[in-house]
């Protein structure tokens, strides 16, 4: 199931999220808002009308008290490598105006809000609901405009946005490398805001193709799984969990299991 893509020379940035460590504290979400100029509204409780580039889901094993267990699962854009060949995530080929593409050199799935004209086809295509639509004009009340990050453009109403793996940080790291005459970018130089903030270090980020990066080893852990592997979306976000029910909740059923009658677990978010 754990397919490898691409040769060793191209980078494939991705993350490994250790669900055993994630306590659902929300630091990744807030770090993301702050880094990426994600606006806020008075009411953000409609999670389908709430801009979140990474959202934490709460899963429960559904067992009655006191055998109940819960697990938090942070879900950013999965930056799918896609089906079959390199660079065909579900969302990219459907965009009629090439507002999103797959960067062969880094594996990042981009989203360019200024190109996007808001048809939302990519949102329909994404099984993870990682893509969010700007239903409203963003508003920054009082003096909150002052904290906007100049490295990330604010988005306007009527376009789709999503996690970029903080690609602007890659751009900045690359600039520095150019200045210093380097080809390589260090692992620590390019880390997205969520991974940087995570107080339990549940999020590890790096080049999945690079044996020197922490994610390289982690992704091959026996605890590793990816969401909905059977769709062959081939995500670059890996999850680690020691719990079978969690791994089952990530895929519809596990590889070596015979197919249950209805493979959908009754798992509430």
């Amino acid at each position: 199931m754990k397919e490898e893509h691409g040769d060793k020379h191209t980078k494939r940035y991705g993350m490994v999220i250790d669900l055993d460590k994630c306590t659902g504290c929300g630091a990744c979400m807030v770090a993301c808002y702050a880094e990426n100029n994600v606006p806020f509204k008075k009411d953000e409780t409609d999670k389908l009308d709430s801009l979140n580039w990474i959202r934490i889901f709460q899963l429960t094993n559904g067992k009655p008290y006191p055998d109940t267990e819960i697990c938090y699962l942070p879900m950013p854009c999965q930056h799918c490598d896609g089906i079959g060949k390199h660079g065909h995530p579900p969302c990219v080929s459907v965009c009629p105006a090439i507002a999103t593409d797959y960067d062969d050199s880094t594996g990042v799935v981009s989203q360019i809000p200024t190109r996007c004209f808001g048809c939302r086809y990519c949102m329909a295509a994404c099984p993870y609901h990682a893509r969010k639509f700007n239903w409203w004009d963003p508003v920054w009340p009082a003096d909150t405009k002052k904290y906007l990050n100049p490295n990330v453009s604010t988005r306007m109403r009527g376009v789709v946005e999503k996690c970029t793996l903080c690609f602007h940080r890659y751009q900045q790291a690359r600039d520095k490398a150019y200045l210093e005459g380097r080809e390589e970018i260090y692992e620590s130089e390019y880390q997205p805001a969520c991974a940087q903030a995570c107080p339990t270090n549940a999020i590890t980020f790096g080049d999945l193709n690079n044996p020197d990066h922490a994610v390289f080893k982690l992704k091959n852990s026996p605890r590793a799984f990816r969401l909905l592997e059977r769709l062959h979306t081939n995500p670059k976000v890996y999850y680690l969990s020691s719990k079978t029910w969690v791994r089952r909740a990530g895929d519809n059923y596990l590889e070596n299991e015979s197919r249950p009658k209805s493979n959908r677990q009754k798992i509430h978010s």
Binding site: P96, P127, R157
Partner: protein, 413 residues
């Protein structure tokens, strides 16, 4: 009754007052829709009940439905000009007008639906040729141009316009090469109807909609074209029948209707066989390979049960097909109309399922079904094309010689 030069000679039309009242009623509905459209354009899509799970909603369904129903134009055109079913010339004008209405509505809906209408042209300029939606946009626009070209000569046949020599000639010349336009229209329709099917069929992140197929075209590509060809003419028949009821006169001879119904019937019958085969393959092979069992798609939610599949395939597929392919069914007026209505409902249900149910089905195992009800703005903008269609049909019927057989069927003296 009046006989201003605007109204074609030798036909009866209702009084100006009656016509104005009728138009005012439809106009009021239209205005309501226009107001909603204004709200959506100026305040944004937050006026709808769409959300991040329901990026496509009522409008897109309406879009797909009207395009399927407008398929009567291309298929009737195909039969008339290319196959040479001359009899259908008696209904082709109306089919074209209905198609024109459907397609202009579809374009309008798309313009309302997108988040940044002022950038809508990006779809052409920055076209991604791999996207089904790009193909839809191009073919839709081109076909709309073709439909306009097909509609124009009918407009020029208005007595007053016909007096303009240039328009008279233009109308004549366009008629002469109509087969070329019609053929182009058929070509375009084949692709955009198909691409609309492809829109959901290619989504390999959506096991409910995903279909295997040939090369880049999923089975839904062909099924959509097929069903539009089957059900579009049924819609033409239905609207013709409604027009006849409203104007209280016969406009098209029965044999014309029955010929069209018979062809539709066979199209529908073959379509439904293909659809059943497709459904079986999807339920038994495609979906399980993606980790889903058939009943996952039809349980665990308050609305979408197995009933919708039965409705689509049996009640609105097999039943109308049987009615329309049997002579008895076609000849009994009420049965014929039942068949036609079911076919129209069937194709609408199919489009609903492929777009709205697709989005309702949870894919990530820890998500729940997504339910959605449209806001009034969505309803209003969806009804807008209906009002607009009524207006156009009323104007066309009053001022243009749409039905060649009308004079014969309704002698004025």
């Amino acid at each position: 009754m009046e006989t201003t030069p605007l109204i074609p000679q030798g036909v009866k039309r209702c009084s100006k007052l009656q016509f104005s009242l009728w138009m005012a009623a439809a106009g009021a509905v239209l205005l309501w829709g226009v107001y909603a459209m204004y709200l959506v354009w100026f305040k944004g899509l937050n006026q709808t009940n769409m959300n991040d799970a329901y990026g496509f909603a009522l409008w897109i369904w309406a879009d797909l439905a009207v395009i399927a129903l407008g398929g009567g134009a291309f298929f009737t055109g195909f039969l008339t000009y290319i196959i040479g079913k001359d009899k259908l010339k008696n209904i082709i004008n109306y089919a074209v007008i209905i198609g024109f209405i459907c397609y202009s509505s579809a374009l309008l809906i798309l313009a309302i639906d997108i988040g940044q209408p002022l950038r809508g042209w990006f779809i052409f300029w920055h076209a991604n040729v791999h996207s089904m939606l790009t193909e839809v946009a191009f073919c839709l626009s081109c076909y709309f141009a073709v439909l306009t070209i097909e509609f124009l000569p009918i407009i020029f046949e208005n007595p007053k316009l016909d007096r303009v020599p240039f328009l008279h000639h233009l109308s004549h010349n366009m008629h002469r090469i109509m087969a070329v336009f019609a053929a182009t229209g058929v070509f375009l329709s084949f692709f955009h109807q198909g691409s609309l099917g492809g829109v959901s069929g290619v989504l390999f992140g959506r096991p409910f909609a995903f279909r295997e197929g040939i090369n880049v075209w999923p089975w839904t590509f062909f099924l959509f074209t097929w069903s539009a060809a089957a059900c579009g003419p049924c819609f033409t028949i239905l609207v013709t029948w409604i027009t006849e009821k409203l104007t209280r006169k016969k406009l098209v001879k029965d044999d014309v209707i029955q010929l069209l119904a018979k062809i539709s019937g066979w199209m529908l019958a073959t379509y439904i066989i293909a659809k059943i085969a497709d459904t079986l393959y999807w339920a038994m092979v495609t979906a399980p390979s993606m980790g889903f069992s058939f009943m996952d798609f039809y349980s665990g939610n308050p609305v979408y049960g197995i009933w919708i599949l039965i409705l689509e395939i049996v009640i609105c597929g097999i039943v109308p097909a049987v009615i329309l392919i049997t002579r008895k069914g076609r000849e009994a007026k009420s049965l014929l109309m039942l068949g036609v209505v079911l076919a129209v409902v069937g194709v609408c249900v199919n489009r609903w399922v492929m777009i709205l149910q697709m989005l309702a089905v949870p894919v990530v195992p820890f998500e729940e079904w997504f339910m959605y009800a449209p806001s009034w703005q969505e309803v209003a903008t969806t009804i807008l094309p209906v009002a607009y269609g009524i207006l156009v049909i009323s104007l066309a019927h009053r001022y243009l010689p749409v039905f060649p057989q009308e004079r014969e069927l309704n002698p004025t003296n």
